[in-house]
Symmetry: C2
Subunit: 315 residues, 2 copies
């Protein structure tokens, strides 16, 4: 079994491109390293939002409108929880709950997050290899005008309203990376690493914050290609643009490419945007990066693979 | 606040009479000591079926047809869990799940089952005092022709099919009874103890198996009145009749009264049944014990209270 493509992914945007790659590649070719910095314990349940977004996308279970959670979802649990005056700020759909309950139970029985994810993916018929970036707890935390906030407190409870001053990934510096992820990045057959169009600050940088993953990326022979999460000065979804502004960055694909400079070989910006200026060591390519449907996902996946052919390191 | 009536209750049948008592008494008058021998951990959730049956009955949330769980229930969680190949032998409704998740979380945060039950009852507007028989784990276990089974394995997974040879309440002998329950039974204002028409073997005897509760019942000045769970040689619900047969007992109210002899002062049999023969120390009264609707519950509650007037200890 060859695993020639590795993707780094966060939630929704990343999941869409992963789905596109899964559709145009032999499924055994693709390994996805997924951000777990958003993971948290809530109501006693271990919730891994980005893993679930990728799993649901690949299993064809994603909600196409909300952009998170499961399609055809119902909310009876939340209504009943409100009736008990339980914590209702984080929405858990009735079907989605099965994932959290099942995962939490298996983790409690001694399985690792990697094992649970692999097993659930298999049951759902997913052949792409899905790897949490680490089995150790890593917590994305935001320094805001309201003090340090845990990720979900910022993202859901406070709806991304507090202005961000700094971001840290608690536990990342000492976390052990997923051994399978390191293996995939060290594979001599590796042909391409894709940084998906996920939020650079909240979804990709937590992965890069694990020293052994960053080192493996720096060392890997394959080209590393990032796809812009910014189109027309806006994030397709989520607070990426707002955070760039708060951190004093220009809101553009170019600024994202600069953020990844030194790591990536190529950057794909949206074809509706002007060509970015020069960024050291980065070759720019254009593509339609907005993914409204399955065909868009496949087209972008093909564009990424085409860039890989042109974007080899040192080429 | 006086608490002049104490009821011992299991699940569905007991919950109905408790509801009737709550409807005809000032709510502050009633304390219910509830069996927890059926409690178990499932999918990481702490499930207390009998407490929930009483809570749902008193909150007006019981399903009137199924006889357990919540009315207007949906089953999306179970469907999704099956999709993940999770353990699907124990049905958990979407709304009902809120109770288990909330309880489990609070227990995990250090609250006792007594505290959690009191708090949930308060939120749901229940003024009757609901007390788990103990905060210590007590597990009803059945010796069957398939070996020793845990209660839910027997009751749900094996649908009460294995023949019962013996029953034990693991942990009961050393369990600390609910201090509030002992207090209620020792109250000088106590006027009546009702043993609800719950399964004698699986719902009432676990409560009686806690030595300090049995002692408090033996010592209490108020009459103890039991209501038959057997009508016309059948249990209204559940395996009571089947168990009586397997244990070599006659299937009748009288046999239940004999089981409680030495403890109870009076026994209410169903008026459709013949008057039982003599049982030492037990006065028999008849009433309509089948509770098909709210009015039946209230009528039976009134009959129980009337018996208390005639059935004082030593009278």
């Amino acid at each position: 079994m060859t695993r020639r493509i590795v993707a780094l992914s966060g939630g929704v945007g990343g999941a869409k491109l992963v789905d596109g790659l899964a559709r145009v590649l032999p499924p055994d070719d693709l390994t996805v390293i997924i951000n777990t910095g958003d993971d948290f314990r809530h109501l006693g349940l271990w919730i891994s939002p980005d893993i679930d977004s990728v799993v649901y996308a690949l299993a064809g279970l994603s909600d196409p409108v909300r952009g998170w959670g499961r399609r055809d979802e119902t909310w009876r649990f939340m209504e009943a929880l409100r009736g008990l005056k339980g914590a209702d700020w984080f929405l858990l759909g009735d079907s989605d709950l099965a994932m959290h309950v099942e995962r939490t139970q298996r983790l409690g029985s001694g399985s690792s997050l990697t094992e649970v994810t692999e097993s659930i993916a298999r049951v759902l018929g997913i052949r792409v290899r899905l790897l949490p970036m680490s089995d150790d707890p890593i917590a994305t935390q935001l320094q805001t005008d309201e003090g340090w906030l845990n990720f979900q407190d910022y993202f859901v409870r406070r709806r991304c309203l507090p202005a961000i001053r700094d971001i840290r990934f608690a536990g990342a510096a000492t976390a052990r990376a997923s051994p399978q992820a390191l293996e995939a990045l060290a594979d001599s057959e590796l042909r391409l690493v894709v940084i998906c169009p996920s939020n650079p600050f909240l979804s990709v940088e937590p992965i890069l914050a694990i020293p052994s993953i960053r080192a493996a990326l720096m060392d890997c022979a394959a080209p590393i290609v990032a796809v812009t999460p910014i189109i027309g000065g806006q994030a397709v979804k989520g607070p990426a643009a707002k955070i760039m502004q708060e951190l004093g960055l220009e809101i553009s694909g170019e600024a994202v490419a600069r953020r990844y400079a030194g790591l990536i070989d190529a950057f794909i910006y949206d074809r509706s945007d002007p060509a970015p200026g020069a960024v050291d060591g980065v070759r720019f390519f254009e593509a339609q990066t907005r993914m409204d449907g399955t065909q868009d996902r496949e087209e972008l996946a093909k564009a990424v693979l085409a860039v890989a052919e042109q974007g080899k390191k040192g080429a």
